[in-house]
């Protein structure tokens, strides 16, 4: 049962969330809830073509709509040198199209008007003459020498963006050549979209009298957005105030800067009035950053006994029309090099080539720490193929290859130092929860009756918490995070962090961390995030980085408070500071537990009764540069059956045992796991942004882009092991993305397992019923 926020020693307890009272009433304050005096509304005209030259744009009819204040085109922005903007990936992206359009729904003109409806009316009256060009949709076709050139603005005259590689190519190839067993599989993770229920939007409010730009924006990284805005616009950074209000889900979608943001800022600067822009759902899915679109070919070498010898991965990454990937600067393929997973590969090699196509730009890490989902899906799927090849139980194959507890800190062949893990223990717990041996017996019985039943395993390792400053930056800014705590005279506290939650529960969980360190309760600590004028600089919330980075900062800022507090406590106890210690709840005289003072008394003294010469006040700020990343892991087991009449897959059971290190709030952790598993289910079975050969987006809204409802979403059984991170201040690792990273492979492995007696080793996601039915038909398994 959930506990109240007044509980003492709150770390690890299921404290009810402090943010909920406003959300269950009407008091959430999301972007579109904000109305400013004199506010105008913006809408965007978009291209119906995926690839076309713009011959002419006529605005006369649009200007006739009552209430229209201004219309921007690419030509207008060109005069301001703003028709292109830099992307986080070091490429550039058109704000409003000039010359030609490169994807369907691309931004062509921006209208600002007195009402939302007038802006939309005017958009309908903008006339654009297009000359359609051949569209390039398939990333492999994009790489052919005779492929149409998409990006004429670049010096490089082909559709190749980047080549990235890691590991020992020659050594790995030699190892594979000499390995008695080699399995090879092509694994595609199709294009998907995070699609939070609240779309993206902003209000740019430039006050000519003060020169200050207040920018309300659905931002997972408000400080980074402030700096980007300062760089792009030339506005002085101290005159930019970014406010990220309550956010209706992010999942990576709200990390990048979008053309609509830039247009509303330009229009507010021009007109001196607030300009609001909110996407429609179609605009959200069709134009803001997608995820995945990774096309991977992997080979694993092994001995006859099933000991892995090497891994080679060749990948084509479809980035769409512009490389707008939101990765740390040095990582064009994100953290894909976690692809060796939980296994003790002696050698490995991975390469990724990015290409342009006529699709929306991206991609982002969708509930994922920068391409970790692709990497985990790949290795867990291909390990399944290896188990089939060796005719070995997939559990046994994993056990033979797990990195062992005594190998931590473990140096992976692709360059990571894994912090901790006990993979056998986690797997054991999952096997016990699911009743694995009995399940396999039941499966045999049901198979004998003609049923198609499968059990799928995924024992993944994630890499989160970017990251240490020696490796990680975005546009040069190091990826630390921060916390500032102020203790008020009456012993209550306010803490502000550089992270920005979107449903993760920071207002509760970070209050628990600080309260635990200071002997307060969760109710005593107010958490604020998302306002750049008040919060210390931080890189925001995505990639499961909040707890590893800002959570570390919270604990260490609190300990910094304690360093000063112990001096004050000594003064109050009339002993030397050397004779005072913190017992977890209060300061006590060593050897005399009964003589103690709590944080409340110390706080009051910090303002009323200080030791002579001490600076008044009790506050601290900590910028935490993590020494390493954290490596959450888990063991997931899916049990499925397939309807031979329809190809529909039923998830009969799903057991998820996660190890995310120290748990701050088990209720919140379970909630994160439920949500992530459901998104992983959607990715395995339902969600895909598909295109036709002309580049028309076939799933630009929730009618065609199917996300799970309460009816499809399976029941989840969760469990936990706790292997703390040795380097994190409280041993926590982060958890929000593990279930989305680890679960897709478990589902697919289960469906493959159901069909493996008939020779099936690989299936392409999403596993729509028609696709599965086609496989059944090929193997004579339909009814």
């Amino acid at each position: 049962m959930a506990m109240e926020a007044t509980e003492s020693r709150p770390l690890g307890k299921a404290i009810k969330r402090k943010e909920d009272p406003r959300f269950i009433r009407r008091q959430g304050r999301y972007l579109d809830d904000i109305v400013l005096p004199g506010m105008l509304y913006m809408a965007l005209a978009r291209s119906p073509y995926a690839h076309a030259r713009i011959k002419n744009i006529r605005l006369d009819e649009a200007y006739k709509v009552l209430g229209v204040k201004a219309i921007l085109t690419g030509a207008d922005l060109e005069k301001m040198n703003l028709s292109w903007m830099p992307t986080l990936a070091g490429d550039r992206q058109m704000v409003l199209a000039t010359g030609k359009v490169l994807f369907q729904y691309q931004e062509v003109a921006a209208v600002v008007a007195e009402t939302r409806a007038a802006a939309e009316d005017a958009v309908q009256r903008i006339e654009v003459d297009y000359q359609p060009l051949d569209a390039v949709v398939d990333p492999y076709a994009a790489m052919k020498p005779d492929a149409p050139l998409l990006r004429e603005d670049r010096e490089q005259k082909d559709n190749h963006i980047f080549h990235w590689e890691v590991g020992d190519r020659e050594g790995t190839e030699n190892t594979l050549a000499s390995s008695p067993i080699v399995v090879k599989e092509f694994i595609r993770m199709p294009r998907v979209h995070p699609a939070p229920v609240e779309p993206c939007g902003c209000i740019a409010d430039y006050q000519k009298s003060t020169g200050k730009m207040t920018w309300y924006v659905t931002s997972q990284a408000p400080h980074a957005h402030r700096t980007v805005l300062a760089m792009v616009s030339g506005l002085p950074e101290h005159m930019i105030h970014v406010i990220s209000p309550d956010i209706g889900g992010g999942f990576g979608n709200k990390v990048p800067v979008y053309p609509g943001y830039v247009c509303s800022i330009v229009l507010s600067l021009q007109l001196g009035r607030p300009v609001k822009w909110i996407e429609t759902r179609t605009e959200n899915i069709a134009t803001t950053n997608f995820a995945r679109d990774y096309h991977m070919t992997a080979e694993i070498g092994a001995t006859e006994e099933g000991i892995v010898t090497g891994l080679k991965v060749i990948t084509i990454a479809d980035h769409g029309a512009f490389d707008a990937a939101a990765d740390p600067s040095k990582f064009p393929a994100g953290l894909f090099s976690i692809v060796t997973g939980s296994y003790n590969f002696p050698i490995a090699f991975a390469e990724v080539d990015g290409v342009y196509t006529n699709k929306a730009p991206g991609g982002v890490a969708y509930r994922c720490s920068f391409r970790v989902t692709e990497a985990s899906f790949l290795i867990e799927r291909v390990m399944n193929t290896l188990a089939l090849r060796l005719n070995l139980d997939p559990v046994e194959l994993r056990r033979r290859n797990f990195i062992q507890p005594d190998q931590f800190p473990y140096q992976s062949p692709l360059g990571w130092t894994y912090d901790s893990g006990n993979y056998d223990l986690t797997l054991d717990k999952a096997l016990e929860l699911v009743g694995y041996e009995k399940l396999r017996e039941e499966q045999a019985e049901r198979r004998a009756r003609g049923e198609l039943v499968g059990i799928g395993i995924s024992t993944f390792t994630e890499i989160v918490g970017a990251g240490p400053s020696n490796t990680f930056d975005i546009l040069g800014i190091k990826m630390f995070d921060s916390c500032e705590i102020r203790i008020h005279p009456t012993g209550k506290a306010i803490a502000r962090l550089g992270a920005r939650h979107q449903g993760q529960g920071h207002e509760t969980t970070f209050a628990q961390v600080i309260a635990e360190e200071l002997g307060l309760t969760t109710a005593d600590v107010l958490i604020e995030e998302g306002d750049t004028d008040t919060a210390p600089y931080g890189l925001g919330t995505y990639a499961s980085r909040s707890t590893p980075t800002a959570g570390g900062a919270a604990a260490l800022a609190a300990r910094r408070i304690r360093q000063k507090a112990i001096q004050i406590a000594a003064h109050l106890l009339e002993v030397s500071a050397d004779d005072v210690e913190w017992n977890g709840e209060k300061f006590v005289t060593k050897g005399l537990e009964s003589r103690g003072v709590g944080m409340g008394e110390v706080a009051l003294a910090a303002y009323t009764n200080l030791p002579q010469g001490m600076e008044p006040g009790l506050e601290a700020t900590y910028y935490y540069d993590p020494p390493n990343l954290t490596f959450p892991n888990g063991a997931y087991i899916a049990v499925v059956s397939i309807d031979r009449g329809t190809g529909q897959v039923a998830v009969e059971r799903f057991v998820a045992v996660d190890d995310c290190g120290t748990v701050i709030n088990p209720m919140v952790v379970d909630g994160q796991i439920h949500g992530g598993l459901t998104e992983g289910f959607g990715i395995a079975f339902m969600q895909e942004i598909a295109f036709d050969e002309d580049g028309n987006n076939l799933a630009p809204n929730f009618m065609e882009y199917l996300v799970p409802t309460a009816v499809e979403a399976p029941h989840w059984e969760t469990g936990r092991t706790v292997t703390p991170s040795p380097h994190h201040p409280i041993g926590a690792k982060g958890v929000g993305e593990s279930p989305n990273v680890g679960s897709p492979a478990a589902f697919v492995n289960a469906v493959v397992d159901a069909l493996s007696p008939y020779g099936v080793t690989n299936l392409e996601i999403p596993l729509f019923p028609w696709k599965v039915w086609n496989v059944l038909r090929e193997h004579g398994l339909t009814l």
């Binding site: 409806a117 459901t678 809204n701």
Partner: protein, 168 residues
């Protein structure tokens, strides 16, 4: 020729959460925007343009409707209930309390729609099974919770409401 903003506005009168409210609006205005912008009640959210997500669910004459797919003029002289009407002077509605107690929300954006759909469910089916709850809320999308704790909260509220009948 000058384009006009669709047709002339007309006066729409609704009884919302027991209170009579009026506003001038264009015939094309969707009920969701009428509630949010004309009446200034922002608890009702808009998350899609295809009647798919259910974040805008309100009760019209007691029946859950997606207010993004009802014209404001269609609601003229009808009774509406939104999330703003759930809490009484006596405190939170049992569903609100149960969503809080059971961690039935994360980002909170879908929550008002979930609360309105489940209010109608529990009125018509005071003791729903888990499967009935899942079917009832299948028109409301949540991307955060995986529905587990939403379903738990609704079942929990139904039990509490059964043991402590509301004073009517």
């Amino acid at each position: 020729m000058e384009h006009r903003n669709a047709n002339e506005s007309s006066l729409v009168t609704v009884v919302i959460n027991g209170e009579t409210r009026q506003a001038m609006t264009e015939p094309r205005t969707l009920l969701a925007y009428f509630i949010r912008e004309n009446l200034g009640m922002t608890g009702t959210h808009v998350g899609c343009d295809t009647t798919s997500c259910g974040a805008c669910t309100v009760l019209m004459d007691g029946v859950p409707v997606k207010s993004c797919t009802v014209l404001a003029v269609q609601a003229d002289h009808h009774a509406l209930m939104t999330v703003e009407g759930l809490e009484s002077i006596g405190g939170l509605h049992p569903l609100q309390q149960a969503f809080w107690d059971n961690h039935g929300l994360q980002c909170g954006f879908c929550t008002p729609g979930m609360l309105m759909t489940s209010t109608a469910l529990l009125r018509d089916h005071p003791e729903p099974t888990e499967t009935e709850v899942r079917h009832a809320i299948s028109g409301n999308l949540c991307r955060c919770t995986g529905y587990v704790n939403i379903v738990k909260a609704i079942v929990n509220a139904s039990q509490k409401m059964a043991s402590e009948p509301a004073e009517v």
